[in-house]
């Protein structure tokens, strides 16, 4: 299936979790937050939340600004 991770299409296997999606970008889990289809997925649920085809995963962190 195809999922969007930070706007880029990724081919992933069925059952891929949020935690696995995050690990394509960073090994760090602190200072990072995830939304799937505009809903926050709390860190404690990353391992148990499986993605579906066409899901939009946004992985955000704090940067300089404001």
């Amino acid at each position: 299936m195809i999922v969007m991770i930070n706007g880029a299409a990724h081919e992933v296997t069925d059952g891929t979790t949020v935690a696995q999606a995050v690990s394509t970008l960073t090994a760090s889990t602190t200072g990072v937050a995830v939304a799937v289809n505009d809903e926050v997925v709390t860190r404690s649920a990353w391992e148990t939340t499986a993605l579906s085809d066409s899901d939009r995963v946004e992985v955000l962190t704090a940067v300089q600004g404001g």
Partner: protein, 251 residues
């Protein structure tokens, strides 16, 4: 001591810094140290795997509290989601709510801002909304449960100073939450004026981070905010049309 208190939290510095515009994390680090700030804003963006170093590391080393903002949001829905992501990433319910109307002026959208503020307060956030210099909107946001109001002096990054000091005074007079002058500060005298008008704190970034010597300007802002606060508390003399001798005119 003359502490700034926002939502029950005490700060001895009344200068809140932003982190946007610094040429490097090293320059930012020096400027933050020189400013004496205890609360500093960050933005939330897509994680860049190539990025080196993090603004969060700088803040942690300096023991500065982080205030996430919703910069870049144009709708209440975007801002609420960004605030929730910031709470998750940074472990703080505090948010500088910023909902922009358009990219040319970067002026805050009052309708979207108010909508987002109500939703975030209901969701348990400590909301500090960035707004125009509008006393009526400031009052409505306070009534809606915001922990502070942050009226602009002038558009973001413009360095035009405080374009409508009268409105800032009206906001200060009516507010029972802290008033934080946000945006438009160009140099130290602007920051001092904000405090003389009765603001409780000043938030600025560009004036420092894009100054030729950010660390020097940060120190200037620190002193200006402190001086303006003292002058406000001291109570300035009334303005007079003509001279008034300070010593007897006759021997």
């Amino acid at each position: 001591m003359d502490d700034l208190i926002i939502a029950g939290e005490k700060f001895s510095s009344r200068l809140i810094m932003g982190t946007g515009g610094a040429p490097s994390l090293e320059v930012l680090d020096q400027a933050l140290a020189a400013s004496g700030t205890e609360l500093t804003t960050v933005a939330m963006r897509r994680l860049d795997p190539e990025a080196r170093g993090s603004v969060l590391d700088v803040l942690r080393r300096r023991d500065i509290r982080v205030l996430p903002n919703t910069a870049g949001c144009f709708t209440a829905g975007d801002a609420v989601l960004t605030a929730r992501l910031a709470r998750e990433a940074l472990g703080t319910p505090w948010v500088k709510l910023e909902v922009i109307a358009d990219e040319r002026t970067l002026l805050p959208d009052p309708i979207e801002t108010f909508d987002a503020a109500e939703r975030l307060v209901a969701d348990g956030f400590v909301v500090l909304p960035y707004i125009g210099d509008d006393p009526a909107l400031a009052r409505r946001l306070e009534q809606a449960g915001c922990a502070a109001v942050m009226p602009l002096g002038a558009p973001i990054g413009s360095g035009l100073g405080i374009r409508n000091p009268h409105n800032i005074e009206l906001i200060v007079e009516a507010a029972s939450v802290p008033v934080i002058l946000d945006a438009g500060i160009g140099t130290a005298s602007d920051a001092a004026l904000a405090m003389e008008l009765g603001c409780d704190a000043v938030l600025l970034a560009t004036a420092v981070t894009r100054a030729q010597r950010p660390d020097l300007m940060a120190a200037a802002m620190r002193d200006a905010v402190a001086a303006g606060r003292l002058a406000r508390q001291a109570g300035r003399i009334p303005r007079r049309r003509y001279a008034e001798a300070s010593s007897p005119m006759t021997p």
